[in-house]
Symmetry: C2
Subunit: 216 residues, 2 copies
DNA sequence: TAAAAGTGCGAACGCTGTTTGCAGTTTAGA
DNA sequence: TCTAAACTGCAAACAGCGTTCGCACTTTTA
């Protein structure tokens, strides 16, 4: 058995001795992503992934040492869909805001990505490319590196925050069904008052404001 | 069997007919919280909670219709530890910043609370008290109610963001162990450059700035 | 050519949430 | 007062999960 070191990224994907493996980490990750896209993260069971690949569950443990490894692989593969090689606008703030938008779209496209990425193991190669891109974009700024890393953390955190909310908010009257006029007068008033709809570009405004406040 | 309606909050905790139940929802939630505090959320299994109460796993289904109900109960009970009856300072911003600080401490005290609260079912009574408190605090502001609800969402989101990060950040050199000088020069430079430590009151500053920007 | 290392996998293990069926208990209505 | 309905507690089982074991087979190394 392959010695079970900390993360899958520090293990070679295969040895040199035995027969050529019939599958690859990328193939396994792709099969698991397809299952999770269709039925959520809990649909990507070891047995289901193996079935998708035409093999048996136990065989997956030749490629992974645990299901956590599978989730790490899925997160990394999904991050690979985030384009980082577009042309730079020359404005660091515009580039970061655009990146956040693409990242939010990615999280919306793969709803399983947020819970899978939150069980923070070590970062995979794609996550390191992401950090590298952010730091390169912020290179001209005179801030310290600690502040920049903090800013990246807040950036991804804000994306996660918006990704956790559904794109179209559910009916609040249903969610707060048990609100009582005695105990929750303000809440009930807020639910019944129509009021103007919120501005739709909250995400961009928030990202811009927070990054500007953090880095200048 | 109790008809399995949407959430546990819309079901009566017991009928009027049979013998008096030997336990209560509050007792069950307390036992589950103790287990989760000690061994994480996955330690609060139905069997373990039942064992803590000196009963059998199947008996819990007289009080809950699923484990999701148990988690809803735990989240609500934990939110009950958040004091909302303190004196108001008269300054809405100060009150909300103080609330955020107490909330962050709560999430740190119960690390299982964040993942448990993120699987958004409907809100429990304690969550509605929380919303009510926020809206009451923001009552003097001239903003629309939609903007205020948005601000509350961003507030709890920022708390979640900081709660997800460990209090003492882990060694970055270990997390980014696979960074290579060719592909990640900025990242490696950021890791080796000592630089000044980040200011410790990032949380308060961020909350204050975001709320001010969102509500004025 | 023998040994070492790797691969695929059927079968099992321990654990999980949940359901079923039954015996005992309390209340509601005639 | 008495029967029927509703409720409680729970042993036992079920289906599914991640994971391990042992074995036959294949490829590379020395």
């Amino acid at each position: 058995m392959p010695e079970t070191t900390r993360s899958i990224w520090s293990r070679p994907d295969r040895g040199t001795r035995g027969p050529q493996p019939e599958h690859s980490r990328a193939e396994i990750a792709a099969a698991a992503m397809a299952l999770a896209d269709a039925g959520g993260l809990e649909a990507a069971t070891m047995r289901a992934v193996a079935g998708e690949l035409g093999t048996a569950a136990a065989s997956l443990y030749r490629y992974l040492s645990s299901r956590d490894d599978l989730l790490d692989l899925m997160v990394d593969a999904a991050l690979g869909e985030l384009p980082l090689d577009g042309p730079s606008s020359g404005d660091w703030l515009e580039d970061l805001v655009a990146l956040a938008g693409r990242q939010l779209a990615l999280y919306r496209r793969h709803p399983w990505l947020l819970p899978a990425a939150m069980r923070r193991g070590t970062y995979g190669p794609r996550a390191m490319d992401y950090f590298e891109y952010c730091l390169r974009t912020m290179a001209p700024l005179p801030c310290g590196t600690a502040a920049k890393m903090e800013a990246v953390g807040v950036l991804t955190g804000l994306v996660s925050l918006f990704a956790a909310q559904p794109a179209a908010p559910a009916d609040p009257a249903g969610i707060f069904a048990a609100a009582t006029p005695q105990a929750h007068p303000h809440l009930l008033a807020a639910l019944t008052t129509p009021g103007p709809p919120p501005e739709p570009d909250l995400f961009d405004r928030l990202i811009r404001g927070v990054l500007r406040g953090l880095l200048t």
